[in-house]
């Protein structure tokens, strides 16, 4: 069977255009605004390229050099330093684990203090929130530097840095989770004769615990990435060795360290996603 194709005549087009004016001609105001936004973005980009000193030959020679380094990276080889690197890997894991846990323990009370439905006083929760914002505004590497001057070089400074940064972020997330609480289960428990404490235990905790646990695991994943770099400022872990080997241009060791990082992050992602599914069920998590 052959299909019939209709060729629209000019008269038909005009009729359609009259019937559906919005569909047939693009709104010129919206188009002008979109083009203006694009032009502004491009102009800013050109200005930034100029100001930050981009040049094509610098880019070209850099890429050539980078390609050369990449050829030197194969095969990855730790040399005789494998035990040292395994120890650094352990330190990295310890930093991620204790940092996340410490941050979460600190964040829990602050999460309640920053929640509107727990502290109705607007000044109190506004103050707590701005405090958390300020803690979050400082990057974890800056915290690491500060802690290195306070407790000295080593992984302990890294733990404190990761804990402080996670505290700021988790505090905000916890307060949002607490604000989203449904009061009805608590009322249900109390109305059937439960005490206030039992209301919290059986009405509130089951609601917040899965959310908190899944956020905690998510932060453990992200902190395991972050804890690899706090070593760059001397706070322990793989980053210390990585920065050192890059400085002395030992490319095979560099690629081995990066490989270790990738494997570690992959394994942790796998384990924590399994744990997350076990805790909150097979639901899809949007993080």
């Amino acid at each position: 069977m052959s299909r019939a194709r209709f060729d629209l005549g000019d008269a038909d087009r005009a009729r359609l255009a009259a019937a559906f004016p919005q569909a047939m001609q693009p709104s010129s105001a919206g188009r002008v605004r979109a083009v203006a936004a694009l032009v502004a973005a491009a102009a800013l980009a050109v200005y930034a390229f100029w100001r930050l000193g981009f040049s094509l030959d610098r880019l070209g020679s850099g890429v050539a050099q980078l390609a050369h380094f990449v050829t030197l990276m194969f095969p990855p080889d730790p040399g005789t330093q494998l035990p040292l690197y395994m120890h650094a890997l352990g330190e990295t894991l310890a930093i991620a684990f204790l940092g996340t846990l410490g941050g979460a323990l600190l964040a829990l009370p602050f999460g309640f203090l920053a929640a509107k439905n727990v502290i109705p006083n607007i000044f109190a929760h506004f103050g707590v929130r701005r405090f958390l914002d300020a803690v979050r505004g400082v990057d974890r590497l800056i915290w690491a530097l500060i802690y290195v001057t306070v407790v000295g070089l080593g992984p302990f400074a890294g733990i404190l840095a990761i804990a402080t940064a996670s505290f700021g972020e988790l505090g905000k997330l916890f307060s949002e989770a607490v604000e989203a609480l449904d009061r009805k289960p608590v009322e249900g428990v109390v109305s059937t004769g439960g005490s206030g404490l039992e209301g919290v235990r059986f009405g509130m905790l089951p609601q917040v615990l899965p959310v908190l646990a899944s956020q905690l695991l998510y932060y453990f994943e992200s902190n395991s990435r972050q804890s690899t770099i706090v070593g760059i400022v001397g706070a322990g872990g793989l980053g210390l060795h990585l920065a050192e080997q890059i400085r002395v241009l030992e490319w095979q060791k560099v690629s081995f360290l990066i490989l270790m990082m990738l494997v570690m992050v992959g394994v942790i992602d796998f384990i924590s996603s399994r744990l997350r599914f076990a805790i909150i069920g097979k639901a899809r998590i949007t993080t």
């Binding site: 890429v63 800056i142 407790v151 302990f156 990585l242 992959g266």
Partner: protein
Amino acid sequence: MPHAVPILPDDQLAPLLTRYDAAVRERQRHTLIGVAVVVACIFLSGWMGEVRPLVFLEHMDRLPNYFWTILPTLHWATLWSDLSEWYWNLDHWLKLLVDTILIAYLGTLLGGIGAFFLSFLASANLVANPFIRVTARRFLEFCRTVPELVFALLFVVAFGLGPLPGVLALAIHTMGALGKLFAEVVENIDMKPVEGATSSGASWSEAVRFAVVPQVSSNFASYGLLRFEINVREASIMGFVGAGGIGQDLIEAIRKFYYSDVSAILLLIIGTVMIIDLLTEQVRHRLLGLEGSR
């Protein structure tokens, strides 16, 4: 109306109760094992991480002291001159701050452009060829797993000191992070416009341009702005490894114990990050509102 609660006879109730107890015990056993594992991990990592709680407690006062010392001495009578002494290098710092924001901007823009093109290739509903899709996904995964500071360290060696390696490092990491989010948005679109475009003769790229992009653009922009916020924070530390921005001055101030400089630069960074957070939040709400009204 009173409800009758049926009470089962004992011989029916007993097996149910034992099974209930067994189920409860099973759960308690799981919880106990979980707690034991966590406690073991805490001790293990405390040992690995050289945690010395006693030493920490002993030197606990150093942390508040540090924050106390980095605060400038301001007197009400000489407030103006004290302030100008505190921010003695303000012109230079503001210049570096603008550099930092521009590094974040370029990194987000370049990374966003890369993520835009790769996300369509990584989406299961647009690309039937598993080889292309899996390759695109693995590539994005690699880009976001390696921390941006590691890229920055490598690029500083290859490209030399300055903002250029910082921008490239941010762009690569941003491409990985945004590419994943973008691909998720693309996989959740309504496929009917795509089918409509394809059935009326559109090629793959035309279908993407006219059927996919209009559906995803506001979400993409919103994610891009969120990433810009994060990148401003990241760009502020790129200077730690010599990759441009205000981080260079900050690390010098901290290392050389120029106390009041530390607080001055930190406050500048925190203020900038907060202002940018607020601005992007406004724009994002408007973008999401656009999405909702359509």
